[in-house]
């Protein structure tokens, strides 16, 4: 019975429509359809360039994570078939097969690390420049090396990459990898006592190069600036300088109804949502690190969903933001005389197709110190899960895997603590999900992504 008045109302309005004295004069919308179609094409072209930028950043950072573990097939997969690799001063390797041999020749022909090996190479500070047609790119990166063999030696290193990339079949690949090593110094004496001979130890493969390095550049302490691919100055707006970007062609076969255009706009809205997610997620991951530095347990735990899980080192799984709050409280309050930094680096960010969930692989690099007593280096890998909760990105799961915690005085060449166990007096809700031993044992933290080129 209640439905009747509604029908009557509806009927009345329908009748009004049907009884309209004269049909409204049809408006010619052709020009506006065309302008809308062009606008969609233009915003889509801008969005594609930002997406390319994000993919390129991920690609080089994935290279770093595979390199860390000497997963050479994965590393070689990232290269185009006719790519080149140059590691100064050791020579140029041309073609994918040759490049694969180079990497295998770094570890005696083996895939993967063996007990006692550490092979970290941090990929930092990207300056990425897309070509006008969006099919090629160049990027400059800075690399930190942190490697060695347990009980034999450890090294710090730094270098600069000037790389080129190519998009083939919609997939970005490395076209040219060129590493200039600035220094590579034994841990004990440090970089200020390095020599050219010490620096040249880095990246020497048993595989013979296809040709020698084009030019031999001196390493530090001689000053040499590897040439930069980008114009000097701040013309960095719009990922690539805007004047180099060709305007998209007018949309061919422009749709001729609002329904068709609405569908295109919805697809574009999703594309923008996923791009915004990348930026929000990077901010969130960074903020976590800054708050954890300062033992701000309230600020940290509020970043998690109510049912989130947190699993760090070998401390077990803690479920829910209240338990996470208590976990963070056990890290201790900041005080004078205490240094505790949670550097969050090299985030590989993957947003789900629907834009509602995401994963990040990131690197933890930690400095710890108690003045007058002790200092420590630590490094590890995060694999974190995120969910969009009422428009706000939150941690749904944080997994921090321990690679090493080493005493400053000894370095990782001589010291690495075993997997950190449960907090005394604060047992977890569940035991940790993966049994593993940190360095000097070999453990590869699971990857949330497949190889972006080969899909393996």
């Amino acid at each position: 019975m209640k439905i009747l008045p509604l029908i009557a109302l509806f009927a009345a309005s329908s009748s009004a429509l049907a009884q309209a004295p004269a049909a409204p004069r049809p408006v010619d919308l052709t020009a506006r359809y065309q302008r809308i179609a062009d606008r969609i094409a233009s915003i889509d072209a801008q969005a594609t360039r930002v997406d390319d930028y994000n993919q390129l950043r991920n690609l080089q950072q994935m290279y770093g994570y595979y390199y860390d573990e000497a997963l050479w097939d994965h590393v070689a997969d990232l290269f185009a078939d006719d790519a080149t690799l140059e590691v100064e001063p050791h020579g140029v390797y041309a073609g994918k097969a040759s490049i694969r041999r180079y990497f295998l020749g770094l570890t005696g022909g083996r895939q993967g690390l063996v007990q006692g090996q550490l092979n970290n190479q941090l990929q930092l500070s990207p300056v990425i420049t897309l070509s006008a047609d969006g099919q090629r790119a160049q990027a400059r990166w800075r690399a930190f090396m942190q490697d060695g063999v347990f009980n034999q030696g450890a090294n710090w290193g730094a270098g600069v990459y000037e790389n080129e990339y190519v998009k083939q079949g919609g997939v970005w690949k490395i076209a040219k990898l060129h590493l200039y090593v600035r220094f590579y110094a034994p841990y004990e004496s440090g970089w200020t006592r390095t020599t050219a001979a010490l620096n040249d130890r880095f990246g020497k493969s048993t595989a013979r190069p296809d040709r020698p390095t084009a030019e031999r550049h001196p390493t530090w302490p001689t000053r040499y600036i590897m040439p930069m691919h980008y114009a000097q100055g701040p013309d960095s707006y719009r990922v690539a300088p805007p004047n180099s970007v060709s305007a998209p062609a007018p949309a061919a076969n422009a749709p001729r109804t609002a329904t068709q255009l609405e569908a295109q706009v919805r697809a574009l809205e999703l594309k923008l949502k996923r791009l915004k997610a990348v930026d929000s997620l990077e901010n969130l991951e960074s903020a976590y690190g800054y708050y954890a530095d300062m033992s701000m347990q309230d600020a940290t735990s509020v970043l998690f969903t109510e049912d989130a899980t947190l699993e760090i080192l070998g401390r077990g799984v803690f479920i829910g933001s209240d338990r996470i709050y208590e976990y963070m409280r056990r890290l201790g309050a900041p005080t004078d005389g205490r240094l505790f930094t949670h550097m969050q680096l090299q985030p590989v960010i993957t947003v789900a197709a629907d834009g509602n969930s995401a994963n990040i692989r990131a690197r933890l690099f930690e400095m710890f110190g108690m003045n007058g007593q002790q200092a420590q280096w630590a490094e590890g890998v995060y694999e974190n899960r995120f969910v969009l909760d009422h428009g706000v990105w939150k941690y749904q799961g944080l997994n921090g895997y321990q690679t090493f915690y080493s005493d400053y005085d000894k370095g990782w060449g001589k010291h690495s603590v075993p997997l950190m166990n449960y907090f005394p007096g604060y047992p977890p809700d569940m035991p940790h999900s993966i049994e593993y031993e940190p360095y000097p044992a070999v453990f590869v933290a699971p990857f949330h992504y497949r190889n972006p080129v080969s899909g393996r």
Binding site: A11, S14, W191, G289
Partner: protein, 253 residues
């Protein structure tokens, strides 16, 4: 009544004639919403999306700008690093406790004398990492926090580690982003040979040979003293300023 039923039936037919997808708008019937109104809505949406994509580009442009900075300073290129700043006379740089330098010429002079100095055998390896970038909704200004870990020293002497955050500000000038204020805090500066737990150095003070235009905007001491450089951003989930539940011991935050 017969007429009403007919009208209802017509509405039903109109809705059924276009296959409805989950993502389609609720109202597509041409007698309830005109084609022109739908076009107006699309135009308004696209104007909003144009602003959104520009804000996303702004975020990337600031990342790229700051990373150019990291390369220039690591390579000791004071002039190029200074060129990343706004041409406004209020553009400023401030390192540690060295004071504030105003305007590009003074910024370049400071970088050449200290921040990006390249004395023979001097090393400064300073990547920028861990960005929290906040672009203002109007896309004209932005702020960002970054972290740098510095490998430094002079060849043949003791090296040093240095770590701390940047809290920087940016402005868009004629379509290009520039740095309007760069502020790098020293959290810790310590000896390589002995470790920061045995030998740490105070945050660098004012240059005697090139006095700053203004004193430091914030007085603090680096490790072993504890200091939290303020965050420009609110907590990304709660939207609230952050604080400690239990005040830190030692020096006042």
């Amino acid at each position: 009544m017969r007429r009403t039923n007919l009208a209802l039936a017509l509405v039903g037919c109109a809705l059924a004639s276009v296959p409805i997808q989950a993502s389609d708008p609720v109202v597509t019937d041409s007698r309830l919403i005109t084609e022109e109104r739908r076009v107006q809505i699309l135009e308004a949406k696209l104007a909003s999306m144009q602003r959104q994509i520009e804000l996303i580009e702004d975020h990337k442009a600031i990342e790229r700008l700051q990373q150019q900075w990291a390369h220039y300073v690591s390579e000791g290129m004071a002039r190029e690093a200074a060129s990343l700043f706004s041409s406004s006379p209020t553009a400023s740089i401030e390192y540690a406790q060295q004071g504030v330098y105003l305007g590009r010429p003074r910024i370049e002079a400071f970088l050449a004398a200290s921040g990006a100095r390249t004395a023979p055998g001097e090393l400064r390896e300073t990547p920028a990492m861990q960005a929290v970038i906040s672009v203002a909704p109007d896309g004209k200004t932005a702020k960002a926090r970054w972290r740098s870990l510095v490998m430094g020293g002079v060849h043949g002497q003791d090296g040093h580690w240095e770590e701390g955050p940047y809290e920087n500000e940016y402005v868009k000038e004629a379509g290009s982003w520039r740095i309007s204020r760069l502020h790098w805090y020293t959290t810790m500066r310590g000896s390589y040979d002995q470790g920061w737990h045995r030998k740490s150095f105070p945050a660098a003070g004012p240059l005697a040979e090139l006095p700053p235009d203004r004193p430091p905007s914030e007085k603090y001491q680096s490790f072993p003293q504890f200091h939290l450089p303020p965050f420009h951003f609110l907590n990304p989930v709660s939207g609230q300023p952050v604080a400690w539940d239990y005040p830190p011991a030692g020096s006042a935050p």
